[in-house]
Symmetry: C2
Amino acid sequence: MYDELKYWYIRDHKLFRTLSMSQIKQLCIITGFKKATKGEIIYFSSSDLPRIFLLKKGHIKIVTVDEEGNETIKDIIQKGDLFGELTLETDNQVNEYAKALSDDVTICSFLMSDFEDLLLRNPSLALSYTKFVGLKLKRIRNSYSNLIFKDARTRLHQFLKDWAESEGIKTENKVVIENYLTQNDIAQIICTSRQTTTHLLNEMEENELLQYNRKEISIPDIRKL
Amino acid sequence: MYDELKYWYIRDHKLFRTLSMSQIKQLCIITGFKKATKGEIIYFSSSDLPRIFLLKKGHIKIVTVDEEGNETIKDIIQKGDLFGELTLETDNQVNEYAKALSDDVTICSFLMSDFEDLLLRNPSLALSYTKFVGLKLKRIRNSYSNLIFKDARTRLHQFLKDWAESEGIKTENKVVIENYLTQNDIAQIICTSRQTTTHLLNEMEENELLQYNRKEISIPDIRKL
DNA sequence: CTGTCATTGTAAACTAACTGACAATTAGTG
DNA sequence: CACTAATTGTCAGTTAGTTTACAATGACAG
């Protein structure tokens, strides 16, 4: 029964919809599970064999730490996202780890080598996967080019729009986002200081562009951003 | 005889080494060629069927133009690089084009649909291609995260290091780079103003970290950057 | 209910980098 | 070879955003 659950977890991802049960089994025999609560650090066990991860539930951030111990956010992973070495190449960057942002994080993983075997046997899956990585590439490139050229205000607006787009619950033009990020997190994502972010958020609240609190962000009219 | 040349052009790319002659033919029947000289604009003919491009010779930059007509450099493509829609998804962003940076630009291209067919029939090629796209993703992510957090000076240093690494001719610790970029191009790549770039380059020349001219950049000791 | 820690709010001094404006130099073309 | 356009050099004024520092608020554990 527990085994059944495992399969379902993987099968649920749109990338794996085309797979047969036996192919899923091939991956899942070695599937690892992990649960985490808020603030918990999840290492990409570099000692272990390289793995690909799939976030089933919750939110996590991928973080790197530089020589001086400064955390920088590399990516925010949402439910349904694949992460880890998408290049299918092993990389021994030890100073990179994931951190749970919500209390109900569930991750499953499988060996990269098994995944590669599967791709070789299933060209259409390989094609889907390539498109998936390509899409990720495009998303990252776009968000970065937004980040770099515009000022902090525009960057915050753009970030909120993107966030609302991908996760917000929309009714008419009003959008409500579950806020699992601190202002400091947001600051890091849009590459500005915590103070500037606080300032801008308060400014937007004064102009009635949004209501901010630690649980949720509510945007009365998304078109005005 | 001309046909033979065509095949060779594609076969030369490391991605295609594993292909049989007939598979190459399948791609090449519809291969398009293009030559360009410095400054020439090459459109990703959006009216035409979507294509994948391979830069055989020279250097080009991928550029987007925003509403106000400002050019921003999205990518620099070097000899041997594949470019175009790596996502294998059509995208109707018309405000994106390529511009030749050197006088001897040669591009060949093939239809995306043909490429997809080939990937489906050739799983190991699909896997290689996936890794290729993944690598591109990693490269872009790294270069961006370098760009964003550091100041202009560090960014320029990092850029020069990367450039020297990928294209420079190294003897001992001295590196010579063929300079096909203007200071304005460099400024756009490292996201700063043209004046700041000029200032920093001159500063580095004073400190004998490099010698700059329009033809080449010579770095006496790459470790000092 | 209270103490503690994380998060958010606010302000002043400081600085890197941008903008605009113009001059000097170099490359390419007829 | 001279003319033109592109590239590079230089400067002063301005500004967005950082830094430092501390206060206020909220959340959570015992």
